[in-house]
Amino acid sequence: MSLLLSSISFGLITAAVLSIAAVGFTLQFAVTDVLNLAFGAVMIVSAYVAYAINSLGVSVWVGVVAAAMTGAVVSLALNRGVYTPFKRRGISPIAMVIVALGMTLILEFGLQAIVGADSVSYRLNQGPNIGLGSFRFSLVQLVILSLALVIMTAVHALLRYSRLGKAMRATAANPSLARNSGIRTDQVVTVTWAISGALCGIAGSIFAIDAGSFGATSTDLFLVLILAAVFLGGPGQAYGAMLGAAIIGLSTEVGAAYITPAYKDVIAFVLLLGMLALRPTGLLGNRT
């Protein structure tokens, strides 16, 4: 493949992982109005659960399922046990950011205390290389792409057509009116965190698969990419997160091919800062 094509193919993979994570992150923000900066920590914890299963000889794809469950459980506990009590206290959004960062430290370094500081890898066969038009992907990469597409479609179907999805969108748009319409917003929030937590777990394990080797703090930089995707599309907008993920994934990889690879993430940072300075509601957000 040419340089451009290969960088686009990398970009697609990054966009795939990013989209799963960004949609999860943005859904949490939509229903709770909290920027869950511990999202990356939950991702890597879930990745390690998948690793634990994988080390027993089980296929890593089963591990992904376990990661999804882990992500759901930990995210639920995080919301119920930490964010909700603090919100009820009425602390400022800045203090909430500090709390989230505190949770990140606890989760990531707690994990590191258990598993050690060395990097690990999944036992995984990349499979044969498959050609798709002018592109070439390994089987694992194709699975990742397909998984992302399936999840995006499922999220779309959930939000647009299902009763739960409508309740989620109503709760995010106007929680008090949602309650007046008979929606049990407490339950909606719980389910949203469970679903987005599962997405977090899946994203974590997929991230680990794509990265090859990983450690307890590997998602620190990735969190910034997630934030960039979320803010680009508009915080709280699920479709915005998908769009943002595509833009960030492709622009960083394609940009890296033509600028020094080390700076590829800088593109994302600049886009994020630009968005915050110029249009904080994002590309798909509504101008308030």
Binding site: R163, R169, A173, S176, A178, R179, G182, I183, R184
Partner: protein
């Protein structure tokens, strides 16, 4: 969902309204009462209005009935069932349809989706049919089904807000200043053509309004609230001819209407 409610929702024609009673209702924010010992009644097929000067507690009164504000003492009875301090999602389920004064629609959602959200508690098969019914009440909405609610004009928004509530065909409508920020002509249309019609179709309607004279025109009974307390009540004709009625709004000389909280 109660069997009673699902019964009412599936019949789809004129339904019986519910009888609402508040007994010595005292309510307020953070333990400090804004409304003091207010008792009112609303019967099926009738429009009951609450009027009064700014800050008299009218909005708080409605919010405490539907469960948004805490009732500190007294009770709220709907068809002989005590619903005091039930959560808003529960009062919605027993047939109370509340239209707040502000934040009355789901802004980012389309008109059609707003109506669908109004029908959240319905079995999904019934929703399209119910939407059609609501559109016969508000035909103008039919031309803007895909438009985002936040982009509607003031009058259109209010119609959508009422349409959302109409989806469940509640036994009791609770409307908080529906004509606020509407041009007079549209306000009159809303009151006379739409609000009055709800009662004609059998429901109970409790409405709070600042435009006292306008709402008197459609009310069967009116309560005047000032300083969080019930000052007077009566039929529109009784009140309109009473000098005390005008005074309770504009202040000045005559006796009983004192401002401020005790």
């Amino acid at each position: 969902m109660s069997a009673d409610l699902s019964n009412k929702m599936s019949t789809g024609h004129k339904r019986a309204g519910a009888t609402l009673c508040t007994v010595g209702l005292t309510a307020g924010y953070g333990g400090r009462p804004v409304v003091h010992g207010v008792s009112i009644n609303v019967e099926p097929g009738r429009v009951v209005s609450i009027v009064g000067p700014n800050g008299s507690g009218k909005s708080t009164m409605l919010k405490s009935i539907v469960g948004v504000v805490k009732v500190l003492s007294g009770s709220v009875i709907l068809d002989d069932v005590d619903i005091t301090n039930q959560a808003p999602e529960d009062t919605a389920r027993v047939g109370v349809g509340y239209v707040p004064q502000v934040d009355d629609v789901f802004g980012p959602l389309s008109v059609k989706e707003n109506l669908e959200m109004g029908g959240y508690l319905l079995p999904s098969g019934e929703v399209p049919g119910r939407i059609d019914k609501v559109l016969t009440y508000f035909p103008r909405l039919a031309t803007m089904l895909t438009r985002r609610a936040a982009q509607l004009s003031g009058g259109e928004r209010k119609m959508l807000a009422m349409g959302r509530v109409l989806m469940l065909q509640p036994a009791l409508y609770v409307l908080d200043e529906p004509t606020a920020n509407l041009a007079p002509a549209i306000a009159m249309e809303l009151l006379h053509e739409h609000v009055r019609q709800l009662a004609v179709d059998g429901a109970s309607v409790l409405i709070v309004e600042q435009r006292a004279k306008a709402v008197l025109g459609i009310s069967d009974h009116t309560y005047v609230l000032a300083g969080g307390r019930l000052r007077m009540q009566g039929s529109p004709t009784e009140l309109a001819s009473s000098p005390d009625f005008v005074d309770s709004f504009l202040g000045g000389g005559h006796g009983n209407a004192k401002f401020g909280s005790p």
